[in-house]
Symmetry: D3
Subunit: 252 residues, 6 copies
């Protein structure tokens, strides 16, 4: 269960669960952890262009499992899924022994450690109730203050970062004032890198007292901590799948 | 939202989410509803031989969605998924307007209506905590007394029906006596048709006071009731997926 | 426990738990289930004119039990109580072996199956917290978005159906927009037959994506499904009352 | 809302909700509160011989309401119902302005104040799940460790007090050791007066660290405290019933 | 466990957990219980001037424990802590055998007995989430409608009682109308004595149907009831601390 | 809110909240994080010899706050409290802006991420219910399978590490088999360093599938991740205490 700590540099791997090329810079995560940890990434080639509904999650999940297995086989010591829907998380945790983390589950637990209640600010209104379902699934629905959306599709997030930041700020302030949020979480990993900007924007509006969680860097750091601690998902919860015919899935 | 009631005979469709041929009789469900409702069925051709872990559910889900869509296009008025893992349920509900029911969600709600607490008796021990997760997801974990297993893989259920019935009876009695179960649910749709036998076996042991829910016939009857009432899943919870590139998925 | 399915036509019975004559058409339910199931009805002759508070429920309950017992003795195979307060439900379930359903419990479970959260739209403001109590009792309070009222007493519901529909529509939209309702339930069985009208009215306002549950027809169909499945309330939860002196109650 | 405190001696009234004569000494409660408070009592004359199931509660409830109303009219300042089923509690609270307390609700709240979790020791096994339902209704199910029974009908409790005490002690110790109870509540008001004896019996067995709540005296003292504080049930939760025809109920 | 009831007059003791002299009249509580019970009081001399944050509670707690121990040693039969933060409650309960009550825990349980949901009206906005934490801790968060503040520091409460009453009334009405409060609790014991005034003020505004709990007198009366019943905190939950070196704490 | 990441080596500080000298090696934590992070430590000089009850926590808490403040003033970037009771956590979080973590809260959240349910194995039986209270406080009680104890006082843990490991293994296996634990947490930071040994011991008994969380190293790594992410506790939940007289507390 508890692997000896490797003398070599740790390597974590990010699985990008959408087929759109170019949305993620090929080295988007490489330098996130300040050189202490190498972060590699790969992308699925079958599945949705972006993840904005349950169908998209269903279609992405088998490929996330396959990429996770490949990452372990190539020597990665931990895997993070690059989507707040955590698609394929449970299946992926079954097929490998290295830790696999979803940014939604991880960010919600970190948020719950940092303050009274947290809100999620996501892309589209139809995802609002899905985050409540996720909070129920992860046992944290009492700590979820609300979910709000900026009403911008995932693939349009980069089109106008100024407008995105403006709406993020507005919705964050409403989460704080109207919903009682004490901590904020980005509800889409496509908002990567905006936490400092949002923090400054909120501070300028008088809200310098609310932490903003950028899910991917936070989840990568928790993953690094787990690897260093020799911890991974429980194989009692996620036992290896029994061997059987699985058409379309190659586990060799 | 509320379709006029059809003057023609209602047709429900069952999606069998495993690739093993011959496990399900091709007319397993045809006569379940006493002629009042026609029940058709189809099977996936890509995915797992049986569903016994989260990986299996992940692999079956995209095919369940596709079969559900095809069923609606061929005129079915409701769909039931033939697995207590309810694989692909949420995705399938997004892509059609006819009601789609999972036997786990439906049976748990029916059980909660019939008595104080229910227990699930399933095939394998590693599924025990998954049923608790399902109860949490469906909001019924306070009503779940326990989950117990007969320790027989899905595809072996038919090998020795006498032994299966014996172990089912034993575990049911333990659920009643040790866990406080007042209602029982089969935790695998492969136990189809055994409710009367188990009821008699329990009655012989002095437990004639505990309803036994056979998930597929019960779920089909609830589905028929919804269709007759003009009810389906909320499109506010399950809105149609936004159009986008989805490689490997053909929604035309 | 599991009765053989009757070759004869199924008969369900509705107990109307108010003493007001003429409020219910004597054949209000006869044709609800399209001829597949016969629906009979009877009314209590001691108790309240309508049910709008806990006192009314207390007074109606003993008569509901007596009518339920009489219905079983006359050959009915299932009983539905015609009031969203489910008065006398638990007592009635003890004294018979046929299934007894309350429309509140049944509709809430059906609503929970159909979408993320449901709201109840009822007659009077003072019943709002009682529906929350009911949701707690039935284990579904996490799925209850809100309860709203049209502020019209039960016996006045038929006075002005246009105004009723108008207020129902307004309160339904507020439940959807302000409270996050994804499914709606009529909070009084006196609103019988208005679901299609409300559905059309909501669709005209742009809300064609929210199912509306008309409690009595939905509950009758679930009852029919239970009877066909040989299911009834658990006698472990609702055992036959021990024989004893009960002044004013004749169980012979 | 807040009555001036009476200069005269306070009077509380106990409603005995069973028709069996002689079970309660006519002055059972008179001296419970050490002379500081007068305690009167009355008994229903229509209803069950004892309360051991939901039917019994349904039949007793209308009479409890009537006796409560009569008690207020005769000048009592508070009412306590003499049964752990709290039959008729909500209805009674609607028809009067003086506080009406049920010993189950009150004892559970007092128990929750005194320690980590409480167990109820009641008369019959079939009541076990009803106490869990009561704990859910009163919002205290997380604090309920278990319910256990002595398996003696209510009207037989006085037949052999030695045996009763022996079984009470046994079940109390199992509640402490097996279920984690830190506080005990008598689950039937027919066990009145046994708390000191059970406390001594438990102390002799090494369990001198678990409070035993005798529901009626404890509830009377809480009622006296409420009266002295000018507090009663909220009329927002329990508004006066609207005037209407109620056949068989005379509220004049 | 169950002390014989004293023939002498009962004495309860209030610990004032702030160092500010003169805030509490030296006989503030003496006559609260109408002469039936003697109420003494003492004040800590090390700790905060008032309690308005968690730091203040942490600093007051050791002194509350010491004062509780001293009260028991001087013959008091029960102790009440004069602060809605219940500082030191659990520690104090460990070191004595007499009952120790916190006004927050006690008032919340009494409020839960009196109506559907309660709101707390406290001094400062930063305490709002702390009362939600307290409700979670005491197992009553489902019954907490909201917490609102008058935005006046503790030590300024006496400066302008008219303004305090005005703001209390405004916030109480908002709790009733906007949050669904059916019962109100003062969220600071510094509001002692204002319940009648607030009740009249609310009645004048049409809200004569909502009980207002003044925590200290209510808690003292519950404490008196516990003492008369021979009840105290469970020593299974609050066992005597094991002897050991504790620098700065003198338990002799 | 979001501090720029320091170019210098990160320093975390551990506060040892007991006065016993020699229990903690003066460099117990120095090398835990493999040189990437410097870990310093300090000990309180007023308070209990060990922490085994609520009184001990109350006495330690003010000193933990003071040591936390001193740590921030001396340049530490994060603080971890060396006790599973998390004494003084909330107060300490108010007085500094650097993140302060308790090992109980952090370990429970990490455990909840790793598997279905977790158990705590602690030192003494009387702490069992306190861990359930902690799980309630942290919102994770649904994920807590059980708490078990080795029945060895804190200061005796080092006396016989073989016996400790033997009992730890026995109780861990009972937690897994009887209580359904999928993840284990040490319930006392005095068990530091035993996770690998327990993991091996469990693997030898066939339980190689259950992660064991050693609270201090895991919490330190999470703290390091928070510091690197520029995250700290929400100042909306933990605002700076208002200035006022606090006798015995020097915040300068």
């Amino acid at each position: 269960m508890r692997a000896r700590r490797s003398p070599m540099k740790m390597r974590l791997h990010v699985v990008v669960p959408i087929v759109t090329e170019g949305f993620r810079d090929p080295h988007a995560f490489r330098d996130l952890l300040d050189g202490a940890v190498e972060v590699t990434q790969s992308q699925i080639t079958r599945g949705p262009a972006s993840i904005e509904c349950q169908l998209d999650e269903v279609l992405a999940a088998p490929e996330v499992v396959a990429e996770t297995l490949a990452a372990e086989q190539s020597g990665a010591q931990g895997v993070v899924i690059d989507c707040m829907g955590d698609p394929g998380l449970e299946g992926a945790r079954e097929v490998v022994s290295i830790p696999v983390l979803g940014p939604c589950q991880t960010s919600m637990h970190v948020a719950a450690m940092l303050g009274h209640r947290f809100s999620v600010v996501t892309v589209l209104e139809n995802l609002v109730h899905e985050f409540r379902d996720s909070a129920v699934k992860y046992g944290l629905n009492q700590q979820l203050a609300s979910t709000r959306s900026v009403d911008i599709p995932v693939l349009d997030l980069d089109d106008d970062r100024d407008r995105l930041l403006k709406v993020l700020t507005e919705q964050s302030i409403r989460a704080i004032e109207d919903d009682g949020a004490h901590v904020l979480i980005f509800g889409c990993t496509g908002m990567l890198g905006l936490a400092d900007d949002l923090g400054e924007s909120l501070a300028a509006a008088g809200y310098d007292n609310v932490p903003v969680i950028d899910p991917i860097p936070t989840t990568l750091r928790v993953a690094a901590g787990l690897v260093a601690s020799g911890l991974s998902q429980s194989k009692r919860t996620f036992p290896p799948p029994p061997p059987k015919l699985r058409i379309g899935y190659d586990a060799s």
